[in-house]
């Protein structure tokens, strides 16, 4: 893959890229299908319910059935909606979600592109999705969805900053923005990961990440008890599915990114466990992060808008800045 | 009413259909109460005292009728002329020995030839309770609003207005509350004709 990327873009190479992208899209779709199943099961168990059990063995085909239903549903566009933007919005939301996955390294050899500005690429693209959400909220011509969209914009700006600043410490320690370099900078024991040295950064990152995902307790843009469904009130059928898809692809992306940045990527937690393949370690950590996100959803109430803002600017941002300062001082004093 | 003897105005409940408990009322304490007002403390004597006070403080003809509602835990029940109702309500609210700060219920009743509104007042401090009836004529009925005194009357008066058609001058926002805005008629009136006979 790396060699192909170095070569000139010919028709043949382009088709190979496209082919791989489609293969990967299906992997991601598979993940989303079963992440939803997993979420419903896990939350179901936490709430003394069974979760899906009917469609297929153990309800395994429930999400498939749900997606099918969404696909064959009538596609409604409100009469007073801004048609072009209304159609564009789900696509604008989804495309960056998928595109950011290109820079995630799963194992030393399994990755799509090793960009030397990988982290920057991720942060820059992922914030584009907000535009889709705001557009969707605006174009629907619905007051609830407009408020959802505006909330989303405010939240995005407030939390993108601590999110990016919180990982600066990691970048300083590993000396590169490339995600491969960052993983390689971490060792084969869990104390050599970025998790412990960058604890503050990790906590800020996790909180900001949950907020970026618009998940409980930061699910204000789609707070169903206030804004009915927020920015996607008017969406139905496959357009709605696109929003949902984007949300879960972001779960995939953030879980991967957390694994890569703080949990040592493919490295085992102890050096003696090195014989287990790196991909498995990656998946294990990844699943744990995903589980953590779902767990939060079953536990937390929703935070209020003003509290969300003040928390982001008054707590998370200073903490992230302190983290940079401490890291810099540490590097200056002990690593030089 | 004002030309009647004083004791009659207390015991003069001719309106049998409304309060039949008159028959059960203790007759004896009345005479004693006349002699020694403060020594004997029965519901009846207290009611008479209240009527005297009202006549003195508000107007001579303020009370149309005053009875003790035996079945309802000796609840003093008085009927006030609607012209004096606002002043009486304020009196009940401000008079120290009553200080009725809590309007617990407000109900409109269609009594056939007249409409009336019944107020159940209570003071959370002194625990004194009273039921007040205010009557109004059937054509163009009105009763002064007590919303300025007890904000809780707001929606209750709107409900009475909606369902019985009584106007409450002084109410800040008198609109229909239960029925649609374009509804014709007032359903709780006895002569209301439901358009759908099957209901």
């Amino acid at each position: 893959m790396t060699e192909l990327l170095q070569q000139a873009l010919t028709w043949q190479n382009g088709l190979i890229f496209l082919g791989w992208a489609i293969v990967f899209l299906f992997i991601v779709l598979g993940f989303v299908t079963y992440a939803i199943y997993f979420e419903r099961k896990v939350i179901g168990w936490m709430q003394f319910r069974h979760g899906p059990t009917r469609v297929g063995p153990l309800g395994l085909l429930q999400s498939v059935a749900d997606v099918l239903k969404l696909l064959i549903k009538e596609d409604t566009i409100p009469q007073k909606a801004d048609r072009t933007l209304f159609i564009l919005a789900p696509i604008i939301t989804f495309v960056p979600a998928f595109a950011v996955l290109a820079v995630i390294p799963y194992t030393p050899s399994l990755y799509f592109a090793d960009l030397n500005v990988g982290l920057l690429y991720y942060a820059a693209l992922s914030s584009l999705s907000t535009i889709g959400i705001i557009l969707g909220g605006w174009a629907s011509n619905n007051k609830y969805s407009l408020m959802g969209g505006m909330r989303s914009a405010a939240q995005m700006i407030s939390y993108e900053i601590p999110l990016v600043i919180s990982v600066v410490g990691v970048v300083m320690l590993s000396g590169g923005l490339s995600l491969n370099t960052i993983v390689e900078g971490q060792g084969n024991n869990f104390w050599e990961w970025n998790l412990l040295p960058q604890m503050i950064g990790f906590v800020v990152f996790m909180i900001a990440a949950v907020s970026e995902l618009n998940r409980t307790p930061f699910d204000l843009p789609e707070a169903e008890s206030e804004l009915v469904a927020g920015y996607h009130v008017e969406y139905s059928g496959f357009r709605f599915a696109f929003f949902m898809l984007a949300e879960y692809v972001y779960v995939f992306a953030i879980a991967s990114l957390t694994t890569v940045l703080f949990l040592g990527g493919w490295h085992p937690p102890l050096a003696i466990l090195d014989f287990i393949p790196g991909l498995l370690w990656f998946m294990l950590k990844f699943v744990f992060v995903v589980f953590f996100l779902f767990w939060l959803r079953a536990t937390m109430p929703r935070i209020r808008v003003d509290q969300l803002m003040s928390f982001g600017w008054k707590v998370l941002l200073p903490l992230a800045l302190i983290n940079i300062f401490v890291t810099a001082a540490y590097i200056e004093l002990f690593l030089k | 009413m004002s030309d009647k003897p004083e004791e009659l105005s207390v015991q003069s409940s001719q309106n049998e259909q409304e309060l039949s408990s008159d028959a059960k009322q203790p007759m004896a304490p009345k005479n004693i109460a006349e002699q020694t007002e403060h020594v004997v403390d029965t519901p009846q004597s207290r009611l008479e005292q209240l009527v005297e006070q009202l006549k003195h403080d508000i107007a001579e003809d303020v009370v149309d009728e005053a009875v003790i509602n035996e079945v309802n835990g000796q609840l003093p029940t008085i009927t006030i002329k609607k012209e004096h109702w606002l002043a009486t309500a304020r009196w009940f609210q401000l008079e120290e020995e009553w200080s009725c700060d809590y309007l617990r219920n407000l109900a409109g009743v269609d009594q056939g030839d007249e409409l009336e509104v019944v107020y159940h007042l209570i003071s959370l401090q002194t625990r004194r309770e009273i039921a007040v009836h205010v009557k109004t004529e059937r054509e163009q009925p009105w009763i002064p609003s007590v919303t300025p005194l007890w904000p809780t009357a707001n929606w209750n008066e709107r409900e009475v207005y909606d369902l019985l058609g009584i106007d409450f001058p002084g109410h800040p926002d008198l609109r229909r509350i239960m029925m649609p805005d374009d509804w014709v008629g007032h359903p709780l009136r006895k002569d209301y004709d439901p358009s759908d006979s099957e209901v």
Partner: protein, 366 residues
């Protein structure tokens, strides 16, 4: 100059957090509420009008449908009013049955409130926990009278069904079960930082305002006014039992929350004593004439429902049907303070405050 525009937003009649078909018209400046106008009547069934054509026993099922979360207390207020008018003695066993079902109902009603309130605030799990425990109570009622929501259980002069064998033991078993669960809930929710930040100092009012607006129940007691009709104007057998009236003094949503949780605890206390003292035998129906014809007159009976003072004003002309029947519905009265509380609050607090008032729209509209 930036020109801002007020946004007119209809919250409801179909909205997840208005607990039924209730509408509030909001004038919004951004997310800040400038004016709120509640609109109701979508669930108005004319119970009071219908009752004028029905005899008293026939009205009982209609009361079930007013406050459908707490049908037992509604049953009681009607039969209580008629019994007052007719001076009917209710056998002790029947009165015990009534008291037990009313207190169970209070627990169930508060559980529904607790679950839905947290759902409003965005926590999903407590809703399901609350319904799991409420289910136990509903099953008890189901066993008792065959209905799960609209019980039609009480009659003038007693109750329709005696407790099946073993039923009282099941109630007895329920008490420690619920106590254990309450402790769990307290750990899960009451200390949650986000939850506290959401409800503390929100929707505050003082005792004077509360009294002026005629609030009752937890909405009144959260301002420190000690007014629980079970204590202040005892009815049924409440005088026999030892229980406290939870009070607090801040008058915000948090206080209303703690009071309702504490009320569950107190209801369990009452239940415990009631189950202990439950008479082993006796009638469940008193001596009641074949046709219930209260003498001409009027009566206003009131009891403490989970939502506050529910009252029943009956004007009788000596017929089998009431001449006029008026219910004082606590949800309807308590809701009046809403427009005043909402001005200057954010859209999010609207949900917190509305949920904190604890309304049942079936009762608001009647």
């Amino acid at each position: 100059m930036i020109r801002t525009e007020e946004l007119l937003l209809n919250v409801g009649p179909q909205h997840p957090s208005t607990h039924g078909v209730f509408r509030i018209v909001l004038k919004l400046d951004g997310e800040i509420i400038r004016e709120a106008t509640p609109v109701m009547g979508y669930l108005h069934r004319g119970t009071e009008k219908l009752a004028e054509q029905l005899n008293y026993t026939q009205i009982i099922p209609y009361t079930d449908r007013m406050d459908y979360v707490s049908a037992m207390t509604n049953n009681y207020v009607l039969v209580h009013a008629v019994e007052k008018m007719m001076n009917i003695e209710v056998p002790e066993r029947a009165e015990f049955m009534r008291l037990i079902v009313m207190e169970l109902q209070r627990v169930a009603s508060h559980l529904v409130w607790w679950g839905t309130y947290l759902l409003d605030i965005g926590a999903m799990s407590p809703f399901l926990y609350a319904f799991r425990d409420r289910e136990v109570i509903i099953d008890l009622f189901n066993e008792l009278c065959g209905a799960r929501l609209t019980y039609n259980y009480m009659r003038v002069g007693g109750v329709k069904w005696d407790a099946p064998s073993g039923w009282i033991d099941k109630v007895r078993d329920f008490i420690p079960y619920m106590r254990k669960r309450l402790k769990e809930y307290d750990k899960l929710v009451s200390g949650n930082e986000i939850f506290l930040a959401r409800i503390k100092d929100v929707g505050k009012y003082d005792a004077q305002t509360a009294i002026a607006y005629g609030l009752s129940g937890a909405n009144l007691r959260c301002t420190g006014v000690n007014w629980d009709l079970r204590k202040q104007e005892p009815y049924s057998l409440y005088e026999r039992f030892d229980f406290d009236v939870p009070l607090s003094f801040n008058g915000d949503c948090y206080d209303r929350y703690t009071i309702r949780i504490e009320e569950i605890v107190q209801s369990l206390r009452i239940l415990e004593q009631a189950v202990e003292q439950f008479p082993s035998g006796g009638e469940t129906m008193g001596k009641v004439p074949r046709v219930i014809r209260p003498p001409a007159g009027e009566v206003y009976a009131r009891i403490e429902s989970p939502r506050g003072e529910i009252g029943c004003y009956i004007v009788s002309k000596g017929k089998a049907e009431p001449y006029r029947l008026k219910f004082r519905r606590p949800s309807f009265v308590n809701l009046q303070i809403l427009p005043e509380l909402l001005v200057g609050q954010s859209m999010t607090n609207l949900i917190t405050i509305l949920g904190g008032v604890d309304i049942v729209v079936g009762e608001v509209d009647c």
